[in-house]
Amino acid sequence: MIRLTAISRTFYMGDQAVYALNDINLHIASGEYVSVMGPSGSGKSTLLNIIGLLDKPDSGLYELDNKPITDLSETEQAQIRREKIGFVFQSFHLVPRLTAAENIELPLILSGMPPAQRQIRVNDALQAFELTPRAQHRPAELSGGQRQRVAIARATIMQPSVILADEPTGNLDHQIGAEVMLLLENLCKTGTTLIVVTHDRELGARAHRQIAMRDGKILTDHTHDTD
């Protein structure tokens, strides 16, 4: 479903070239649970950004659902992000002035869905993530775990086929982090592809497939059965 062929991405620090991704070849099937681990600067976040269409590779081919999407227009890529990809960030990235319900509703608004339908979807999501009592609370009034649940609800509200999570438990304590991971893993069980970028070995080990990166290259790529 996700196929990266000879993907490279280079950044420049002054005159010096830094190879964030160097000739990456990767295939991730639908419904896979993949963790990407590696030290800072290994290229894991750049990989996630390219898969999430937030960044463009300098060279190589990116295919999603067997369609090359590297050269799509900005509007077409935005539509794919909206419909097929959900992001979960370490720092939640909730809009502080909006309530939990309004934050969850944002992708639906961008998609142009009529308000009545949006309301139903948001209510379902609030219920699914046990956020109904907190629907009208602003992020500042929520705990870390609740904020991340709002972020996950927002990431899944469009029923994407891929969830990209960048250090999703980085700002949470161990117990809340585990609860958040369970939520994400449950999504994976319903057929959503889950790609988690993390420093945390324990967290990475929960994935069916573990990719280790260093210096912009895939160092190891193990698949194991966790069930």
């Binding site: 937030l54 935005a78 992000r81 990235h93 809009v95 142009g112």
Partner: protein
């Protein structure tokens, strides 16, 4: 993203940044209000002056001794001396012109009015019976001076003078002394207040020959002439010039001012003045626009992470641009509307404080004020909106 959602989302944003939005709206509102109030003031002054000139008569021509080319804008009145005086004979000649309905010779001076143990220096107009219809004056009591050049020593008192001198009795029929002559009060003017620089409630009017004797002059201050119709004004002017040239040994030494010309000149001057003050006020709108741009640029900077998030969840650059653009539209629109209301309120206050000033903002000024405010706000939002739309999603998300 639909247009309704764009407008609703941007409106919520405007509301959520309360202080910031209020300050921008206030700046915009003050700009529009300044345009409305200043144009109301300018146009009010224009209408006030026009009304004043209109109220002095209809189809009116004013004949002055001396030529404007040599004596300046108001010959005779300023210098007091002209080569050849206007006389009652001249006035009678004008009365014979076919275009002239009526005429009133005029002398103006000051004298002491005394009666009932009271004494006061008053402005004295010497004229004939036609002064009342030509100058649109009204009598409250009695009758005006007898037709023709008065032979009886009659006097007409202004409303305030009549009331001050005879507070408990009828002024009509009373004897008063003006200068060293005794007069019989034949009429009292209706209260009219100020018109053309003097208060008609505090003047007295006596027959022209008595006035000339009192001020020891044979020369007239003015001759007021009323043409038979609006279309007769120009022929009347030509007729007057021709008749008086002939009477003055072939020398054109008088000036004829038509009411229309005065009205047109004042209208033009005051309209230009109104436009000038509107222009000055519009500068404050441009300043408000720059404020909008500044605040929006700061907003883009403050909301960089939010813009990154919107891009991550599928917003296009166009969506982002529209959101910021719509915010500016809301701020400008609310500011413009509030400014319009403030301006109307300011104009109302002006009318309450100065009831004689018709300080109504012209429709064009209100519309122009609102449009300029909207255009300034929208133009000012283009740069911040475009900057927001161009933000790199990855970098934006990385910003705290």
């Amino acid at each position: 993203m639909t247009l309704t959602d764009t407008l609703q989302t941007s409106f919520k944003t405007v509301v959520s940044y309360r202080i910031r939005s209020l300050l921008i709206i206030l700046a915009m509102a003050l700009g529009v209000a300044a345009v409305v109030v200043l144009t109301a003031l300018g146009d009010g002054a224009r209408r006030y002056v026009i009304n004043q000139f209109s109220s002095i008569g209809t189809n009116l021509l004013i004949v002055l001794p001396g030529r404007a080319e040599t004596a300046g804008a108001f010959p005779g009145a300023i210098l007091g001396q002209t080569p050849r005086d206007l006389t009652l004979k001249d006035a009678q000649l004008l009365g014979r012109l076919p275009q002239v309905r009526r005429y009133a010779p005029l002398n103006v001076g000051a004298a002491e009015l005394s009666a009932a143990n009271r004494l006061r220096e008053v402005t004295v107009l010497g004229s004939n019976a036609n002064l009342i219809p030509i100058r649109h004056m009204k009598l409250a009591q009695g009758s005006f001076l007898a037709h023709g050049f008065g032979h009886s020593a009659q006097i007409v008192l202004g409303a305030k003078l009549a009331n001050d001198f005879f507070p408990r009795s009828q002024a009509i029929g009373q004897r008063v002394r003006l200068g060293d002559k005794r007069f019989l009060v034949s009429g009292v003017l209706a209260a009219q207040g100020e018109a053309m620089g003097y208060n008609t409630d505090e003047i007295v009017i006596i027959p022209i020959d008595y006035a000339q004797a009192m001020f020891n002059t044979t020369s007239l201050f003015r001759i007021l002439v009323e043409a038979k119709s609006h279309s007769e004004i120009d022929p009347a002017k030509q007729g007057i010039l021709a008749v008086l040239k002939q009477s003055h040994d072939g020398e054109e030494d008088i000036t004829v001012i038509t009411q229309d010309a005065i009205l047109t000149t004042f209208d033009r001057i005051l309209q230009a003045l109104t436009l000038a003050v509107a222009g000055i006020a519009a500068i404050s709108l441009i300043v408000a626009g720059i404020l909008v741009m500044n605040v929006m640029l700061v907003a883009v900077s403050q909301r960089t992470a939010e813009i990154g998030l919107l891009k991550a969840i599928g917003a296009t650059s166009t969506d982002i641009r529209r959101l910021f653009f719509a915010e500016a539209v809301w701020l400008s629109l609310v500011g413009a509307m509030l400014g319009f209301l403030l301006g109307q309120f300011g104009s109302l206050l002006l009318r309450l404080i100065y009831p004689q000033l018709p300080a109504w903002a012209p429709a064009w000024a209100s519309i122009a004020g609102i449009i300029v405010a909207l255009a300034t706000g929208i133009l000012a939002s283009l740069l911040p909106a475009s900057r927001a739309a161009r933000l790199d999603a990855v970098k934006a998300l990385g910003k705290k």
